[in-house]
Amino acid sequence: MTIKEIARLVDGVIVGAPADDSYDVEKAFASDLMSDVLRFSMDETVLISGLCNNQTMRTSEMADLRVVVIGRDKQPDAEMLELAEELDITLIKSKFSVFKISGILYEAGIQPLY
């Protein structure tokens, strides 16, 4: 699934790095705990999180994540957006809860990480 398709499904707004249309997302992992994110290989995975700060970006960088859906209508600040662009990470802001975003993407065929 493309990043833009994910954004459409969760009624989201794309910010940070521009969406790479060639990037195919197959799996998702939902967590607000960054050390849990670092436990797993995140290839072709979208992170769904309610944590919205610089550390979400740094953790994504270490985990090789390319796209993060920020739920609960959290608003990334200017510094976080700058970091997202610098690290080539696309953010999708959604007003939906993390649970709802997860349900929508699961129903659309995105697989759980495990």
Binding site: M34, S35, L38, R39, N53, M62, A63, E79, L87
Partner: protein
């Protein structure tokens, strides 16, 4: 090659910059992606631990053709019960650290999982030195 970075207590705005810099260097050196991931996840967890718990410290990274050695040395409270700290879920993180998304008690277990050699020297009231080695062969 040798790189040194400083760690500033409680500075979560900049935490991760050292790990980020090391990641860029390893990429430039053409290290295999799986080894880069292991190294930076371990280093990042150690860096976050030091920012979260210690009063300051340093990171020293040595890279040669066969291995990456990363030493995170802090002046801090030390770890009173290292066996407990190695268990998943054990944490003494403050509310502030938890708000930043850490404190799940996965830091040291993640470091152990991602390194080939791990040595932790800790003394209560003095500090902790974590030495992590990744073999590239």
């Amino acid at each position: 090659m040798h790189y040194t970075f400083d760690i500033e207590r409680g500075n979560f705005a900049d935490a991760g910059q050292a790990s980020s810099s090391v990641k860029r260097t390893l990429k430039q050196l053409g290290v295999a992606p799986a080894n880069i991931r292991r190294a930076v996840v371990a280093l990042f967890e150690a860096e976050i631990n030091a920012v979260a718990h210690a009063y300051g410290g340093t990171i020293d990274v040595d890279i040669d053709g066969s291995k990456i050695v990363m030493v995170v040395a802090d002046q801090g409270p030390g770890i009173p019960d290292l066996d407990a700290a190695m268990q998943e879920g054990w944490s003494t993180a403050s509310a502030k650290v938890r708000e930043m998304g850490y404190g799940a008690g996965m830091g040291l277990p993640n470091i152990k999982k991602n390194t080939d050699d791990l040595k932790i020297d800790t003394k209560v009231g003095v500090g902790t030195t974590v030495t992590m080695t990744i073999y590239l062969a």
